[in-house]
């Protein structure tokens, strides 16, 4: 079979994945703490064609896409809401998940739940020094110092734990802006000199402009590949016509 057809089909499939990824980025252009995905296409040699009668056949390369999440910081938006926190530089907040697992996120929109515990918007407690942050209402407003220390009424309650990963590529994405690190494959370690800012939110790292440019690229590549497949099809049809009796 003509390998051009297969390469073409593979390429279309890859471009569709890319388009899905762009759509996901754009859909999350307003999601706080969202880190955009980037798509990289590599050529993967399927099999070196054999050298027949002294002629080396061209090797077939199939495009293989990979999604990546560069660790860049989003723009900071001043909200002046004391429950909004953002991390300066690299690192992630740690939350205690529903099944006891630790969830990591850069989404710094927090709330106080009915028990007075600082939780994220889905109700998972923020971890400081390994435990939740309790803020009793009678103690008045709370402040978060730049080193992440939460204090209320002049008394330090705990320091917000910020984690960084040695192998970020081995982390899993969970539903809801969370990063999971099953079996500590990502190598989570506490960041010693982390900086947390209160009253600011880190916005999504998605840049609509570069996503639009990528989208144009995808659309045009898709069109070209479609033409390529049609050409191949045409050639095959002509060959069948020419050699059929």
């Amino acid at each position: 079979m003509d390998s051009g057809l297969i390469t073409g089909a593979y390429s279309l499939r890859n471009l569709e994945d890319w388009q899905s990824l762009i759509a996901h980025n754009l859909a999350n252009s307003s999601t706080v703490g969202f880190q955009k995905n980037t798509f990289q296409v590599n050529a993967k040699p399927v099999r070196a064609m054999e050298n027949t009668n002294g002629v080396t056949q061209p090797q077939t390369l199939l495009p293989v896409g990979t999604a990546m999440r560069p660790q860049i910081s989003g723009e900071l938006k001043v909200t002046q809401n004391p429950y909004d926190l953002s991390i300066m530089g690299e690192g992630y907040f740690s939350l205690s998940g529903p099944e006891g697992q630790t969830l990591y996120t850069r989404d710094g929109e927090f709330h106080r739940n009915s028990e007075g515990v600082l939780v994220n918007k889905t109700g998972y407690p923020l971890l400081a020094d390994g435990g939740p942050v309790e803020l009793p209402p009678e103690e008045g407003p709370f402040t978060v110092a730049r080193d992440g220390t939460v204090s209320q009424n002049g008394e330090a309650i705990g320091r917000i734990s910020i984690y960084q990963f040695d192998n970020p590529e081995l982390l899993q994405r969970g539903n809801g802006s969370f990063i999971l690190d099953p079996g500590n494959a990502g190598g989570a370690r506490l960041v010693e000199n982390a900086e947390v800012i209160q009253g600011q939110l880190e916005m999504s790292t998605v840049s609509p402009m570069s996503e639009m440019v990528s989208m144009i690229q995808v659309s045009r590549a898709y069109e070209m590949t479609q033409k390529l497949i049609q050409e191949n099809d045409d050639r095959l049809r002509k060959a069948i016509e020419a050699f059929s009796v």
């Binding site: 279309l12 471009l15 569709e16 994945d17 388009q19 899905s20 990824l21 762009i22 759509a23 996901h24 754009l26 859909a27 999350n28 252009s29 307003s30 999601t31 706080v32 969202f34 995905n37 896409g65 990979t66 999604a67 990546m68 002046q80 809401n81 929109e109 709330h111 106080r112 739940n113 009915s114 028990e115 007075g116 918007k121 889905t122 209402p137 009678e138 103690e139 008045g140 590529e169 081995l170 982390l171 899993q172 994405r173 969970g174 539903n175 809801g176 802006s177 494959a185 609509p208 996503e211 639009m212 989208m215 995808v218 659309s219 898709y222 069109e223 479609q226 497949i229 049609q230 099809d233």
Partner: protein
């Protein structure tokens, strides 16, 4: 392929909800005691086509996989209970709470609701009510006839001087919640308790973290109009680019349909 269509649709839906929230905030920019709502998003479910760390045929492990997301979701429209600015009215029954706390209001069905709108009124029978005529509890005593002057201290102590030389004194109390953002809005500046807000706790104004009561002032809404306008621009643009990704996906599907002549 269709994944990107639905992903973009989820983005448009989320932006539509953001616009609804912004519109409501702007519409209430001049509502006394109104607390702005804030919409919060999260990304949605990932489909892993190739897991990072998976073994390849050559014996290596993949450095990165393909994870395709399903778009965005609205998680909450929480109220932000920051202090609104105070404006002086000079009206004796206008009260603003500076700090934490709510007035308790009795609903027609006998249950309690809570408000920070302190534009109170005196009904014909001496009862203290909201602008809508709902009786205000918060330890308010009905006024006797012939009120000459009313003085309310920031500690909540009320002294009513009567025309016949008599005096009536009582202390009002405020109610607060651990998580005021978890209250359910009833409309009419009223909120009711939910499981998420915690149970109401009453206390004296100015003590134990409760706010002070200021007579002759009203608390304006905490809506920042400039911020809402900027949010509106971002919401509108985000809506637009999401529609572009639907168009692009559509175009790609059209190309697929043209593959076979």
């Amino acid at each position: 392929m269709n994944l990107s269509l639905y992903t973009a649709a989820s983005g448009m839906e989320a932006q539509q909800m953001q616009l609804n929230t912004i519109s409501n905030n702007l519409a209430n920019a001049n509502t006394n005691g109104y607390k702005r709502a804030k919409i919060e998003f999260q990304d949605m479910l990932y489909q892993s086509q190739r897991e990072a760390g998976a073994r390849t045929a050559e014996g290596n492990s993949l450095p990165a996989g393909i994870e395709l997301g399903n778009g965005t979701q609205v998680v909450s429209t929480a109220r932000v209970f920051t202090q609104g600015s105070l404006s002086e009215t000079g009206e004796k029954m206008d009260m603003a709470i500076d700090g934490d706390g709510f007035f308790e209001v009795q609903l027609p069905d006998g249950t309690s609701a809570f408000t920070r709108d302190g534009a109170l009124k005196i009904s014909s029978d001496g009862q203290i009510t909201t602008s809508n005529g709902l009786p205000v509890l918060s330890n308010f005593q009905p006024f006797s006839d012939g009120v000459e002057s009313v003085t309310i201290l920031s500690s909540g102590d009320v002294t009513v001087r009567l025309g016949n030389g008599g005096e009536q004194t009582f202390r009002i109390q405020l109610t607060r919640f651990v998580n005021a953002g978890g209250l359910r809005s009833l409309g009419g500046n009223l909120y009711v308790e939910t499981a998420g807000s915690g149970t109401p706790e009453t206390g004296n104004p100015g003590e134990n973290g409760f706010g002070r009561v200021l007579q002759g002032y009203l608390e304006k809404s905490n809506v920042n109009v400039v911020e809402e306008m900027v949010n509106m621009i971002t919401a509108q643009r985000a809506y637009e680019i999401n529609s572009k990704s639907i168009q692009a996906s559509d175009q790609m599907l059209q190309n697929v349909a043209q593959l076979k002549r």
